[in-house]
Subunit: 209 residues, 2 copies
């Protein structure tokens, strides 16, 4: 099993935190996105979507997308459970994990990829080139601020994102709060629930992954 | 178990096709999106994200998102399998299902929600109001055309979207091809692989769901 990573990028960090929580160490290959290695061989054949993370199994099967990789790792290394154990728990945790992706990750990406010169003509991931749209960058910042508000509200009702237990949804949310700094959005002092939760997660050894 | 549906909408159709493939019939409630019922009680409390589909379990737990609902239904009604049976199969199928969502559904939604007067000031789902962006509508159409090209290429290499067997990824792709008509994008005569596959899926009884 081989993990394709790029240390500065937020999506593979989700997998790194997940691996750390599981106590797993696997062979890791850096794909230098700053140098455009994701668009060149050998990586582009492994993942024509040109994104990390990617997990290559021993038989050559390649699994893309952080959420899919983590669910696969949970299936083959169930302990400690980070996706719940009953079908109901698994569904609720997956629903929250998706909300963190859709409202958090996608919002920050919208802000960053439509602004940074590093993503000129690459406002979306993949091989096609899409121009940056300034109005979309502004919408991304607004959505990221909304994400912080909504996350604070949620964490006022629940100790962790998906309920009473730490889960993959906390990893996604925590990495997203860090990613939001790329869009110059940070939790505000008024986000007391979010701040309390953030300290709890940051104290876990996996937060250094 | 109660399924919240809106017959004209594409996302709940994914769940309807899935239920039909499983041979399941469950209590169904229509949420009239054309009348804005998703923003009002009782629905807004069940799903503050204000979207269908939603699955309400007997204990009151609410599960949102078509993909999450289908994975839950697979867990409690495993036969016939539509997500694969081994961890590796499940990961590959989930990866392809996500690709159909990200490259297909999200592209069409980008085109439709930034154009149709029905979505004025609601370019994104949810309670927040976001204005329509004409440039984003144009990008959505371009991405939808790219989706058709990529799907045709994939179906030239594989009989079904995720491999040799019919799966949830075919349901998502098939519903998305129908949804694309809302953006006035249809498969072209040159998409011979896509056309062949589409006839095969359309012949399944679940295609009428």
């Amino acid at each position: 099993m081989r993990f394709y990573d790029y240390t500065p990028a937020p999506s593979p960090r989700r997998v790194r935190m997940f691996l750390a929580e599981k106590g797993l160490e696997i062979e890791t290959v850096q794909v230098d996105l700053a140098a455009g290695e994701e668009f060149r061989e050998p990586f582009v054949t492994l993942n024509p979507r040109c994104v990390v993370p990617l997990l290559e199994l021993d038989d050559g099967t390649c699994i893309g997308e952080a959420a899919v990789i983590c669910r696969y790792l949970e299936a083959v290394h169930p302990e400690p459970p980070l996706h719940g154990t009953t079908p109901e728990q698994r569904a609720v945790i997956e629903m929250w994990d998706r909300a963190m992706e859709d409202d958090g990750f996608r919002a920050v990406a919208e802000a960053v990829r439509n602004t940074s010169p590093a993503f000129a003509d690459r406002a979306l991931t993949g091989q096609e080139r899409y121009p940056q749209l300034p109005e979309l960058a502004a919408r991304g910042v607004r959505r990221t601020r909304q994400f912080m508000d909504d996350l604070d509200t949620r964490l006022g009702a629940s100790p962790f994102v998906a309920g009473d237990e730490f889960s993959i949804a906390d990893i996604t949310a925590f990495v997203c709060v860090g990613f939001a700094r790329w869009a110059k959005v940070k939790p505000e002092p008024r986000h007391a629930n979010l701040q309390r939760w953030h300290e709890v997660i940051a104290a876990r050894p996996s937060a250094n992954a």
